[in-house]
Amino acid sequence: MTQKSTRRDVLKLAGAATAATVAPTIATAQSAGGVVVIGAGFGGATAARYLRRAGVSVTLVEQNSSFSTCPFSNTVLGGINNFSSITHGFGGLRREGVNVVRGRVNAVDPDAKSITLDGGDTIAYDRLIMSPGIDFKWDAIEGYDEAAAELMPHAWKAGSQTNILRRQLEAMPDGGVVAIAPPGNPFRCPPGPYERASLIAHYLKTEKPRSKVLILDAKDSFSKQGLFQAGWAELYGDLIEWVPFSEGGNVARVDPATNTIFTDFDEHKVDVANIIPPQRSNRLVDTAGLADGGDWCPINQTTFESTIHANIHVLGDASIAGRMPKSGFSANSQAKVCAAAVAALLAGNDPASPSFINTCYSLVAPDYGISVAAIYRIIEDGTIAPVAGAGGVSPSDAPASTRALEADYARGWYASITADMFG
């Protein structure tokens, strides 16, 4: 989209705001504040959609013309689905009345209550909701910068990175080694690297059976570990090798020119190197100091309003949301609570008490699904914590039929949550 149409969208918003001031007797115009949402991903698209459903006028600013989900991107790497099947347009949101503006936000100004886009346009807000996701700490692994990521892809944001990694897997000869290097906690999608190892192993077992997946981990344990390792033993034998931190898994340095990974103890020259670097909140939050000098944004966990600046709400991966993991499901669940709180605050009401759910389904193979779930509430200290006695992981002794059902329900989850985000 060109700069011209961005301006047109922005003007449309200004027009709507004017209509509200000249026609204050219309009930919806009175109650509709100008809410601006940044990011049309799991948190932002959901927040925009649920605010519209509550009758609030919303402008959603997104830098890309469509959204490709990280969830199910591992099935693209495994050759099970096409990239187009994980890409979603914004037509449904527009039809429901969300003003979707394409633009990259450069700065947030909490005093002027406005945001600035590439090209200089500004958009004013009454309340701002930010769900901009993550950025990488490029300095953390020696030699791993943005240029290195073109050769040793992270594929931890879905898009061209996903396609680079898939092409490398396709080009790799039988007998090759694929290294996956997951970071320490906290990071986006704790079970994600291990689902990735599984689905790459599924592809290799079928197409290049003499190959190997080597996980060089910065941790000594990981999400759903028992279930993953049992599934790996059952389906892939010794095709997947996991090297924990304490046995020299931690990646200290990489040399992209020779595809070499240097761990604390060892050196691995591999055929495909998937380096997943440590993460922090999207750097856009720094333009308003919303991470307070840390990696993630502190918030009031009931309303998601920043504890640094009033009228700015931060949710999803970028926020500190108590004990909820950084997942798409968490961001979707938080967005609905945040949208309800913002609608209440705009109407001068008290926000209601929240309740959240997170579930992470993982595919160990296309017909082998496992999951972890939790229900979350606000506890006395004001933070989000799981409800004791609920949730947990899939049973360790389940028959193949249960694993197959959970794989179907994983696909059901994907269909439902993307419909909940984009209409």
Partner: protein, 104 residues
Amino acid sequence: MSPIKTMVAGTFGAALLALPVTLPAAADETAPANLANACAGCHGTDGISPGPTPSINEISEEDMIALLTAFKNDEAAVTMMNRIAKGYTDAEIAAIAAYFASMM
């Protein structure tokens, strides 16, 4: 009706119908919409599922209470709902059931 629903409604529905259902006081409890909207992550917006997960938008209040109570008490063979339903009090289950029923 799904097999689970038939099974649970048949076993527990009749007994439950005889019990008085008390709804929680709306104000200081978790808002019913906040409870029910979280279900949409798996069951779709307003409980209308586009994929293999069952839709839950056309379940009567009584059946919903019976189903969620059975899941909570491990009285139905399921993959997920036993873990989910344990996160809600009986009053919250009643509020969720009333919320979905009010949209029918």
